[in-house]
Each structure stands twice: as structure tokens, then as C-alpha cells.
């Protein structure tokens, strides 16, 4: 027997508006709940997205290749030859959007007024461009002009701590493959502002060839960073590169390189879902209450329908439809509300008052809430699935009412 949906639909819809005040209050509650779900999800997603992006720009890349032992022993000794042959071919074809070979060594930088330990990055500025790994905000001076550039670009915070300035000379000290101190004076040609203050203190940029010369390692590099511009899809192309790299190199994705960062996505999804379910649970009492009341008010009518020959299943279906209409209206209103409130915030929410706390979590001072269809769908799924589950109990009770008792109820 096909369900006479049209008949039940009309009935459910009209019944919904029998007590319009109650329905409107419940609608408002659902709408607020749904709005909260999506808003929270957008904030969370904005945070995670930013953390992951910042993290990837610092790493950099969604994929890195190292000499086998480099990660265990991050020394210049464990450098690798620049990519050639098959590996080079893979790196130069889609979906790789950019790659860069870089020298990364621990170093000590000293001015007359102090010294700090830093990470010295020998880079090819052009190649880094594609990775977005260079500091965007050059505060003073100029950026590096090619891999042969002999100047240094340091962070503003580091410059302050070293009491050095643009154009001044500093000494950079590191270790060559024979464990001799390799040392060279260099001029500060640029001072950058980092996304995070920690980065400003930590990273010093120099031309790759200049660093290779300082360390006496020829053309060797420490790592190759690769980006495909979508951190969610690395797994699709990762195996090709790993295969081309061979066993002498270690190929790792960002989730392995930075487990903290890697855990973020799962944590965010988990948290968002838990939040949505909790909000829904708070809503569900009202929903069940509304249905119980709606049924209570028309017990007699339900008895009548049974007398007219409506199967219990149809009675149940009718109540479920009523609940579904209520949920759907609430969802539409809640989603609209979410879109309307999140859109004006797209340019970012200033959270600089807690900037350093955010930095502990790897984020910067502006939060961009990100409205994703996925979250809207998730909230819809949570509300519909759990909503219908919650409605099942009252609807079931209504369908099992004793018709005679229901008819004689006054």
C-alpha cells in the first residue's frame, strides 16, 4: 500500500498551525539552535583552517622529502642531492602546484649586542613563492633577490632582541659537514613581520647558494617542500611522489610532519559534531514536549481517525510528518540566520585582544569564520535524524492509543 502522503501532508501542515504560538516558539528555538550549530562550526572551521594554513606555510608544503636520516638527526650531514630524473619530472607536473628545495640548518646569529639561536633557511625565493612560505609582510628593506643573494632577511622581533637594524652586519654561525664552525658576516637586507611572533624569532632567510657556500655542501639541500594547494587532498597524489623519490628519501605528508596539526581536522570535526548533538539534545526536550502537547490536544481526533480506518502506521506517519515540517522550517530559518550573520563577518573578527593566546594554538589575530556547506549539511542531518528519532516515541504512543478510550476522552 502506498502512503497517501498528500493527505497526511495537508493534515500535518494544518495541525502544525493549530496552535501557532506554540509552533512559533518551537520554531524560534530550533532556528536558534541550528544557527548556533552552524555559527559555532563556522568559527571552529575558520580557526582550524587558519591553524592548518599557518602551519603549512611554516612547515612549509603539504608534503616534504628529506634524506632518510634527516628527521632523526637534522644535521647538514644528512643533506640530499637536488631532485633529478623521475622525481624532478613528477614534481614538475600536476597536481603539484609548487615545490622548493631548501637548506634548513640550526644556526646562531649574533650582533654586537647579543646572540640567539635560530633556524637558517637557505631558499630560492622564486620557488618559495608558489608555496606561500615566505613572510608576506616585509616591514623594512627588501626581500631576497634570488638564490644567490648574500643578504639576510630576519624577523622584526629578532632584530629588536639583537638590537640590530636594517643594513647592519650580523654574524651567522652554523656547522659544516665536518662539524667545523662555519661562520660568516652578513648584512641584514630586510626585516619581516611574521604571522606569529614565534616565527619572527625563529626563522632567518638567506639565499640558498650563499648558505650552500657557507656550509660547503655544493648543490645539496636539506628538504624539498611540495604543495598541491589543497591540504585535504594530499593523499591522492602523495604515493606518486613517494614512489619517484625512492627509498633513499623519506616522503612525509603534513599530518605526519606535524601530528598536532594533523589532529586538528579530526578534533574539529569531532568537536563540531559533539556541539551539534549537545545543542540538539537541549532542543529535543522542547520538541518532544511540543509533540506530546499537540497529540494530547487531539487525542479524540486521533481516535476518530482510527475509527475511520486509518492504520496505526498512518497515524504515526502523520505525527512524524508534522515533526518533520517543524524541523525543516526551523532548519530553513536557522540556516538563513546563519548565512546572514556569518556573511558580514567574512572580513574577519578582530581577536587581537587574545592574540598571544591564539598564537599558542598557532593562529593569528584575525579570525575568519568559514561557512561551509558541509557544516550546514551536518547540522541538517543531526537535526533531522535526531529530531525524527526523538519524535518517534510520542508518535508511536499516539498510534497505539486505544480508539475507544481516545474517542470518549473529553
Amino acid at each position: 500500500m502506498s502512503l497517501p502522503l498528500a493527505a497526511l501532508g495537508t493534515l500535518a501542515w494544518r495541525n502544525l498551525w493549530r496552535n501557532h504560538r506554540r509552533t512559533l516558539i518551537m520554531l524560534a528555538a530550533i532556528a536558534i539552535g541550528v544557527w548556533a550549530m552552524i555559527f559555532m562550526a563556522a568559527l571552529m572551521r575558520g580557526m582550524t583552517d587558519q591553524m592548518v594554513r599557518n602551519g603549512l606555510q611554516t612547515l612549509p608544503g603539504e608534503l616534504q622529502l628529506h634524506q632518510r636520516d634527516y628527521r632523526r638527526d637534522p644535521s647538514v650531514v644528512n643533506s640530499m642531492e637536488p631532485p633529478a630524473g623521475e622525481l624532478l619530472q613528477v614534481l614538475q607536473s600536476a597536481p603539484v602546484a609548487g615545490w622548493a628545495g631548501r637548506v634548513r640548518v640550526p644556526a646562531v646569529i649574533s650582533s654586537e649586542r647579543g646572540s640567539r639561536s635560530v633556524t637558517l633557511l637557505g631558499i630560492d625565493p622564486e620557488a618559495e613563492q608558489a608555496l606561500g612560505s615566505l613572510p608576506e609582510d616585509l616591514f623594512e628593506g627588501r626581500g631576497l633577490e634570488g638564490k644567490g643573494d648574500r643578504g639576510l632577511v630576519i624577523g622584526a622581533s629578532l632584530a629588536r632582541r639583537l638590537e640590530t637594524a636594517l643594513g647592519k652586519r650580523v654574524v651567522i654561525m652554523s656547522q659544516d659537514p665536518d662539524n667545523n664552525v662555519a661562520e660568516r658576516g652578513a648584512r641584514v637586507v630586510g626585516i619581516y613581520r611574521g604571522r606569529l611572533q614565534g616565527d619572527e624569532d625563529r626563522f632567518v632567510y638567506a639565499g640558498r647558494a650563499a648558505v650552500q657556500e657557507l656550509l660547503g655542501i655544493g648543490q645539496q639541500i636539506s628538504e624539498i617542500a611540495v604543495s598541491g594547494n589543497d591540504y585535504r587532498r594530499v593523499d591522492e597524489w602523495y604515493p606518486r611522489i613517494a614512489a619517484a623519490a625512492g627509498s633513499g628519501l623519506e616522503t612525509l605528508t603534513w599530518t605526519e610532519l606535524d601530528p598536532f596539526l594533523g589532529s586538528m581536522l579530526a578534533v574539529q570535526d569531532g568537536f563540531t559534531l559533539v556541539f551539534m548533538v549537545v545543542v540538539f539534545l537541549a532542543l529535543s526536550f522542547g520538541l518532544v514536549n511540543t509533540l506530546v502537547m499537540a497529540i494530547f490536544e487531539r487525542v479524540r481526533e486521533i481516535g476518530l481517525m482510527q475509527a475511520l480506518g486509518m492504520r496505526p502506521g498512518l497515524i504515526l506517519g502523520q505525527i512524524m510528518l508534522e515533526s518533520l515540517f517543524l524541523l525543516c522550517l526551523g532548519l530553513v530559518a536557522g540556516n538563513l540566520l546563519a548565512v546572514l550573520t556569518i556573511a558580514p563577518l567574512a572580513s574577519g573578527i578582530d581577536i587581537s585582544s587574545v592574540a598571544q593566546g591564539m598564537e599558542m594554538m598557532g593562529m593569528s589575530a584575525t579570525l575568519y569564520p568559514a561557512l561551509h556547506v558541509q557544516d550546514m549539511l551536518m547540522s541538517t542531518a543531526v537535526v533531522i535524524i535526531l529530531g525524527l528519532l526523538a519524535s518517534l516515541a510520542p508518535a508511536w504512543r499516539a498510534s497505539r492509543l486505544d480508539p475507544v478510550a481516545a474517542l470518549t476522552r473529553d
Binding site: 497517501p4 476518530l304 482510527q306 475511520l308 480506518g309 492504520r311 496505526p312 502506521g313 498512518l314
Partner: protein
């Protein structure tokens, strides 16, 4: 189809330690096309009997057969289907679904039965006209008088061409004019379509319409006689 047979029906209610016998070994046969009135004092068991015949309520013991179909052993769903297709109910009051208009009330059951829209509409218009409600199809129950509401209920009951209509004090809330109109309607349907009517009532004038009068008291059938029907004076 509407031959009704009950054998040894018993139904008791327990209320506050007291046991009330609503049906006490009731046996009864009603042939197809009958026009039967149940009468008796309040509490004598009329409603209980009608509910049992319609499969709304299950007796404690005894057997009911409607149109050759044993009711005991049927599931709630099967009983519902039986009512949907074969039995029409008219109650004393609150017969209609309040959120639906007169036409929708009539169409509703047909829609559940799966009657195509066009046919449904035509049929609803016709029966509403037949019961004298032409022009009032779009009104909701709250906008109709008690008599009009009862006529919508009748229209609904007959639209699906049931073989049996069970009416529990259908005129109790009506003035005598409306009551007479309703009873005339019943008689017409009984004559022209052969619909079996079983009507419970306190009203002597309603009893006048019946061809068979069954008297009840304390759950027992105390009289059962054929009579020459006579319409009530208005």
C-alpha cells in the same frame, strides 16, 4: 457482505474495584440491508456493542463475524483496513477533523484509500450535495452547525460506499428538524444503496424509522422485534 453475526459477546470493565458488565453473553444476527435501532437506558451497553461490531473495541470473549470475516484474531491494522473499506462510523459529536474543510473531510478517507484525485473530487461534491450541503464544501467544522457537521460525517461515511454504517446517537446533539433530516437521509441510503444501518439512540422518534428494534439493559438484549417504520413528525 454486511451480514453481521455475534455469538456470546462478553465485555466487562473494572473501575475502582467494581466490575461492570457492559455486554453479557450477547448473541445477535443482522442481515444485509437491515435498518436496526439499538435502544436502552444509559449504561446499557449500546456503545460498547457498536464499538465491538466495528472492531474498535475487542470483546473479552465471544465471536463477531462481519461479512463472513471473523474479527477476532485480526491485527489493529487489519481491523483498520476493514473499517476503512467496509464500515462507516457516525458519532454523536466531534465527527470531523477540525483542520480540514467539509470537502476535505469527505475526501480524506478516499485519499487514504488511494482513490484518484479526479474521482475523489467528483464523488465528494456529489455526496455533499446529496446530504444537502452544496455550497458549504469549503467551510471548516467550526463554521458549521451541529446538524451540518453530522451531515458531513454522513457524507464521509457513505462516500466510500461502505456496506455497514454504525451510528452512535447521531441525533443526540441535534434539534428535531435536523434530526429528522438526518434520519431521512439514512433511510434513503438504506433503500437506494442497500447500506446496512445500526443506530443506537435514546430518542423514540428515531426508533420510529427502524425496521428492527433491539432493546438493551444491563448488557443484555431484552427485546428484539420487527416493526413497520414511520417517519417522525416535525
Amino acid at each position: 457482505m454486511s451480514d453481521i453475526a455475534c455469538r456470546e459477546l462478553c465485555k466487562t470493565f473494572h473501575q475502582g474495584g467494581e466490575t461492570i458488565t457492559a455486554l453479557d453473553h450477547v448473541s445477535l444476527d443482522i442481515e444485509e440491508g437491515s435498518f436496526v435501532c439499538l435502544f436502552g437506558p444509559s449504561g446499557s451497553g449500546k456503545t460498547t456493542l457498536l464499538n465491538a461490531l466495528g472492531g474498535l473495541d475487542t470483546p473479552d470473549s465471544g465471536a463477531i463475524t462481519v461479512g463472513g470475516q471473523r474479527l477476532d484474531g485480526l491485527s489493529r491494522g487489519e481491523l483498520a483496513d476493514l473499517r476503512l473499506h467496509n464500515i462507516g462510523f457516525v458519532f454523536q459529536a466531534y465527527n470531523l477533523i477540525t483542520v480540514l474543510t467539509a470537502r476535505e473531510n469527505v475526501e480524506f478517507i478516499m485519499q487514504v484509500q488511494g482513490v484518484p484525485a479526479g474521482e475523489r473530487r467528483a464523488l465528494a461534491t456529489r455526496v455533499l450535495e446529496e446530504v444537502g450541503l452544496a455550497g458549504l464544501e469549503g467551510r471548516r467544522p467550526g463554521e458549521l452547525s451541529g446538524g451540518q457537521q453530522q451531515r458531513v460525517a454522513v457524507a464521509r461515511a457513505i462516500a466510500t460506499s461502505p456496506a455497514l454504517v454504525l451510528a452512535d446517537e447521531p441525533t443526540a446533539n441535534l434539534d428535531s428538524r435536523s434530526a429528522a433530516q438526518l434520519m431521512d437521509l439514512f433511510v434513503t441510503l438504506n433503500k437506494e444503496r442497500g447500506v446496512t444501518f445500526v443506530i443506537s439512540t435514546h430518542d423514540a422518534r428515531v426508533m420510529g424509522y427502524a425496521r428492527r428494534l433491539i432493546g438493551m439493559r444491563d448488557g443484555l438484549i431484552v427485546s428484539d422485534e420487527q416493526q413497520q417504520p414511520h417517519a417522525m413528525d416535525v
